[in-house]
Structures are given as C-alpha cells and as structure tokens.
Amino acid sequence: MAQPDVLIRLDGVSQLFAAGRRQPPVRAIEDVTLDIHESEFVTLVGRSGCGKSTLLRIVSGLLQPTSGRVEIDGSPVRGTRPDVSFMFQRPALLPWRNVIDNVLLPVEILRLDRANYRRRAHDLLELVGLDVFAERSIWELSGGMQQRAALCRALVTDPRILLMDEPFAALDALTREDLSLELQRIWNDDRKTIVFVTHSIEEAVLLADRVVVMSPRPGRITKILDVDLPRPRSLGASRGSEELRRCSAELHELLFAREAA
C-alpha cells in the first residue's frame, strides 16, 4: 500500500517553560520528531505532565516551540490556521449564544458566508443528535451534549486537521463511549486527520491508527504503536479482540514501567 502524504511534520521540537526566578526552565518537550499522514487518526497518550497537550498546542500554532520545526502541508506553522480546528477538554461554549450560533462561531470569525454554513451546522447537529436543541441555551444542555456541540463547532468549517485535547476526559464513562463511537463514525465518513490527546489507554487504542506514547520529564516519545483493528471499534464489540488486548497490554507496560524505573 502506498503511504499517503505527510500532512504534519514535527522535527526536533523542544519546548522550555520558565519556572521562576533562579530556577532552571522546565523541559516540557524534548526533541520530538513525528510525521502524521493525511487522514490518519493518531492518539497521544501519556501520564499527566508528559507534554502531550503542549505538543498539541504547538501543532495548532497556539504555542511557538522553543526550538525545532513544525510543518503542515509543507509550510512552517507560524500561528493558528483556518484549516486546523482545536477541541478542548472543556466545551468552551459561549453561554450568551444558543447552540447553533455557537456552532457557527468559527464561520463568523473566518468571515465565511453564514447562510451557506447554516445547513452544514444543522447537519452536524443532527449527526450527533442535537438538532432539536439548535435554538436552546447552553445551560440547558448536559455535559455530554455540550461537548457534542463543541465537536460540531470544530467541524463546521470542514477543517483538514482536527486537534483534540482530552475532549472526553470530563465526561462519564457511558457518554464517553457514545462520543468515541460518534467520533469514529464522523471520521469514517470524511477521514480528517485527527490528533487526539488522552491519558486513557482504552481510548487511545480504540480510536487510533497509531498510538504515540510519551513519557514525562522531559516529555519525549518513547514508542509508536500501530493498531490494526477493524472499525468501528467499541469496548463492547472489540472486547474479545486479540489485537486490542495486545496493544493495551503493551501500553500498560510502557506507561507503568516508567514509573517503576
């Protein structure tokens, strides 16, 4: 099989954070080199403090790395880009707007034609079962529904790349499973390139084509794991799978071995 084009290229990326007066800076990320291909679903997994969220912010252009090169589609990343969407751990919906106007926020900021995208916004809301809530206020929605709306907002401008920073971490286990299925379905339909940060081994294996394992202090890549499992995957449907067991076991070992060392 021919390898698809590299879409995101990280080359020797390091990030230092000032720690305070007369203290050495914190090495949040050290020498990370990684290629992510078009239409690939990559999860970044690691303990808290391993720099996975920092790495995601560097890819998005929200943060400039201390050193190293970041390229998207062959051109260096100098700031945030309209073809890259970011989804946060918290829904970050604007409470003074209703659901549909929240979904259309990126359209407004990018000065695209609102009328054109209204249709798409409604389709997306329908896809995640929120269409009847389009005109509702944010505070009438549960946490899971709010995060679904945030997902629609991230997708509304049809970005090439979707960066997700532990988007389901604040949800209960059932809602989490629902949303990971919905995300796979959406991804299956239009194959965006997704980089998904999580600290859950299960989530990392279920969603990814490739799992990138990171270790803390300094944050660096310790292993990249290919997951060869048919989709859609869910904890229920894929439970008996040998591949799932193998990957999970290996991730466990990697993440916990570090701790013992």
Partner: protein, 253 residues
C-alpha cells in the same frame, strides 16, 4: 415554590421596612424627640402629601441630573476601561490619574465647579460623573481582563482579530462584572447629584434639604430624603431588571 419565592422577594422587604418605621416611631415616642429634631413617620407622610405639587419638579431636576451624569459616566467609564484593559501603556498612564481623581474629596470640588460652570445643571452632572465613574471603570476593566481561560484559548485558536475577540468574547464575558460597577455607580450617582445641589443650586431635592435646614424645617428635609431613598432603590432595581434581560446566562454560570 412560587409562593415561597414571592415571600422572599416581596413580603420580606416589606416586613423589614415596616419594622424600621416601627422602630423609628417607637424611638421618637420613647425619647420624646421634638419634631424639629426628628419628625414622626406620620408627619413626614403628611408633609409629602401636602407638598405633592411642589415635590415633583424638584424630583425631576434631581432625576435628570442623575441620569445625565450616570449615562455619561457609563460612556466615559466603559471607554476608559477598554483603553486600560487592552493597552499596557494606557493602563500605566491613565490608571494612576483615575485613582488620584477618585481620592479627591468631591464635596471640596463643588464650589469650584460652580465657579467654572455657573448655577445650572452643568456642575451637578459633572459631580455625578466624578463620583460614579470610578467603580464603573474598575469593574469593567476587571471584567474585560478576566475572560475565562478556555474561551480565551478558543478564540485564539480561531485566529480572531482583536476587535472580533472583543466583540464575540471579551465584552459579553465582561457584562456581569460591568453590571456590578453600574449597580454601585447608580447609587453613587444619586448622591453625586445631591452633593452638587448642596452648592449653588436653585432647585432639586438636594437644594430643598439645604433650604429646609436654614428654616429648621426638619420634616421637609426628611420628606426629601425619603424621596431620594425611593429614587435610589427604584434606579437600582431597574438595573437589576436590565441585567436579567441582557445577561440571563450569568445566573447559570
């Protein structure tokens, strides 16, 4: 549920008011205060009724000065706050000036304002602005600077311009704080108008209080104070209602 809410919002303040008037009455009869020192609630009520054609024009004068001054304070205050919140240089230069201005005893300025601007509404409106602009600047600037971190990051991830950021996130997120400043400001605005009328005025409730003092007509002064108190309360709750209308989401934060 609805019954208990009505109890809290209507019956409780009514009871508190009745209790305060009761204590006033009781104290007057217990200590046998003469009416030129402390009039009874009944005397004040009779005064209000007997001068019912006199008070409205005094009331309007004070109300207009208050509203004009408050309106200008909102415009000036919000403009200053935007400058302070979005420019480090302007914050450094304007802020100390505002603090110094706020520290000046306003009453001391009243005669100077009359000297500069004469006996009309001008010096009263300026006094209102001097006294109520500061809390509006302070709360608005605080609100503009304390956009929730996740909304700040979201809008940055969308590559929004500074104006887009202000319009879609910064300003709406600041509204609850702005209303805190407006509610403090409106009560101060009434006080400012009265202080302005203490010096060089020919009408308005503040003028009535000063004039009544010269005739030892304490009942008239008390009646004016009652009107001012009612005015302040009404203006305050108009703002509360406006806040509910414009910022309904604040209650759900």
């Amino acid at each position: 549920m609805i019954g208990s809410r009505r109890f809290v919002s209507v019956i409780l303040p009514t009871l508190a008011l009745a209790a305060a008037i009761g204590i006033w009455w009781l104290a007057k009869w217990t200590f046998r205060w003469p009416s030129f020192v402390v009039p009874s609630p009944g005397e004040v009520a009779r005064e209000l009724w007997s001068r019912r054609s006199y008070f409205p024009s005094q009331f309007w004068t004070t109300l207009l000065e208050t509203l004009e001054g408050f309106g200008l304070s909102v415009v000036i205050g919000v403009a200053c706050a935007i400058a302070i919140a979005y420019s480090r240089t302007l914050e450094r230069s304007i802020y100390p000036l505002l603090v110094a201005l706020n520290a000046v005893p306003k009453l001391a300025l009243a005669p100077i304002l009359v000297l500069w601007m004469g006996f009309g509404a001008g010096p009263k409106v300026v006094m209102v602005i001097l006294i109520c602009v500061f809390p509006i600047v302070l709360s608005t600037a605080t609100g503009l600077k304390s956009t929730p971190a996740e909304l700040d990051e979201l809008i940055r991830s969308l590559s929004a311009s500074r104006f887009q950021t202000f319009r879609t996130v910064g300003f709406p997120a600041a509204l609850p704080q702005i209303f805190v400043g407006l509610k403090v400001g409106i009560s101060l605005a009434v006080i400012g108008a009265v202080i302005g009328e203490f010096v060089g005025a020919t009408k308005g409730l503040g003028y009535v209080i000063v004039a009544s003092g010269q005739n030892a007509d304490t009942t008239l002064a008390f009646a004016s104070i009652v009107i001012l108190a009612v005015l302040s309360v009404v203006l305050f709750y108009v703002l509360v209602a406006l806040e509910r209308l414009l910022v309904p989401w604040a209650e759900h934060q």
